[in-house]
């Protein structure tokens, strides 16, 4: 890898994170090159979200370095290159906001302070809404949308800055299958545009075919890093998530090798 010429969008080296002396992430190394689509898997409390938060400078590092596009995250300023979909319940807040207003907030990382919104800004917001299939709902209040649609609003907000790296924290949690397919369609468009994608997932579902790589965390350490699990394993890894339509087959033993139990 020619680090100086074409730096990795994501580089974690020896990263540890501790909250109140409890170590949540332990000595994690992770490099993601341009165009990769990487899932971070693992049980609850394995440190998946913490890994993403450490990368983005939202969780303080106890040791190691986190770099975005070759720059340590503390000094990184080029935030329009990064789109982030945080883990949160819905896209609404204490005051109503339209879908367009929420998505337009994602454009701020590209806008100069005190400048008015330009035609390019509006076009980028329209394009982001098209990607997630919510252009027709642009003038609706986000609070009136379903959970899956609100999740897509947050993805559109991340896309509004036309990022090169998209980081999603549990984009499929609490979202029904139809919306998971809509989400997968949106991600497929991005992957075709060579956007690097890193997402935390509890279950993969329709996103699975897009993956180029999967990382499994257990107790804050990388247990597995390599090609994604094959499709028939994907629904079996989560003990507290029953899928009545997917009875455990002969492959049921395999996920334990992924440390997903």
């Amino acid at each position: 890898m020619l680090a100086g010429v074409n730096p990795c969008p994501v580089a974690l080296t020896g990263v540890s994170v501790a909250y109140d002396s409890r170590t949540v992430l332990r000595d994690v190394d992770l490099q993601i090159t341009t165009g990769e689509v990487v899932a971070v898997l693992g049980a609850n409390g394995a440190g998946k979200s913490t890994l993403v938060r450490a990368l983005l400078g939202l969780a303080p590092l106890a040791s190691g370095t986190a770099e975005l596009f070759g720059t340590p995250v503390g000094r990184f300023r080029d935030w329009s290159r990064v789109g982030f979909v945080p883990q949160r319940v819905g896209a609404a807040s204490g005051v109503p906001a339209t879908v367009r207003e929420v998505v337009a907030a994602g454009r701020l990382s590209r806008q100069r302070r005190f400048r008015r919104t330009s035609a390019a800004d509006r076009a980028a917001v329209d394009a982001a809404l098209d990607t997630v299939g919510l252009r027709s709902r642009a003038r609706d209040s986000v609070g009136t949308l379903s959970g899956g649609q609100q999740q897509r609003v947050l993805i559109a907000r991340a896309l509004a800055s036309q990022p090169e790296l998209l980081v999603l924290d549990e984009p499929t949690s609490g979202v029904d299958v139809e919306h998971q397919h809509a989400l997968a369609d949106a991600l497929r468009t991005l992957v075709e545009d060579r956007v690097t994608v890193l997402f935390v997932a509890h279950e993969l579902g329709p996103i699975a075919p897009l993956l180029t790589r999967a990382i499994t965390l257990a107790s804050g350490q990388v247990l597995h890093d390599g090609p994604p699990p094959s499709a028939e394993h994907l629904h079996l890894h989560d003990p507290d998530h029953a899928h009545p339509d997917h009875a455990p087959g002969p492959e049921a033993a395999t996920p334990s090798a992924w440390g997903l139990r």
Binding site: L56, G57, L58, R77, W79, S80, V82, F84, P86, R88, S93, G94, V95, P96, A97, T98, E101, V102, A104, A105, G106, L108, S109, Q111, R113, F114, R139, D140, S141, T144, L154, R157, S161
Partner: protein
Amino acid sequence: MPAFLQFAFMQRALLAALLVGLAAPSVGVFLVQKRMALMGDGIGHIALTGVALGFLLGTAPVLTAVVVASLGAVAIELVRQQGRTSGDVALALMFYGGIAGGVLLIGLSPGGTNVNLLSYLFGSLTAVSTADVYVITGLSACLLLTLLAVGREMFAVCHDEEHARVSGLPVRTLNVLLAVLAAVTVTVAMRVVGLLLVSALMVVPVAAAQQLVRGFRSTVLLALGIGVVASVGGVSGSYYADTAPGALIVVVALAVFALATLAATGLRRVRPRIRA
């Protein structure tokens, strides 16, 4: 032209009411968005200590109130950012400390009685001096211009703080700025609405507006309109009723809220029928 407009004190009170009606909801909307609607109340209580300090030192109570309220608001915000105490408990501590400090200091000040405090607690028509009008105008203008300049960024921070940080916005600075703006609003509004009711004028117009509209921008504009109607209406009405203006302003705002809620409920009932 209503008869009361010929009185200079009413002209001052109405001008102050107009500015307060604009300033309070425009800051309040961000507090409501952050789900910190009670922050204005906490700051109001702290400002009482500032007012009493002014009496004690013999300086203008408005100035000491701005300083003390701003310090208190920033302290609340820093405690919230540290996450050591929940914002809820931090606000409670400020409430008690502010009121206790105010009553204590006014008791220590020469010739000070709690009667002096009453006009600050509930507002007073005759209390707005010419100097007050200048201070209120200057501070409201600064506040509205600041919000015009950073409104988009403030929206993003109050909507989703983590996303705002990953957008490279100066989240900490904007949060502290909002706290200071809230403190300035409280001080601006205290002569007209009173410290105990100022938070209502920050929150109730926003709550009423969001019953009727779908967007943030439209909520802000409608809340400003409702704020002006309530504050100017309340001040005018209190001339005839001979009451403290703060109480009437809040009653008018609450009445608008009730009407808006009824109208919204009615609309929701009617709309499905139209579609069907």
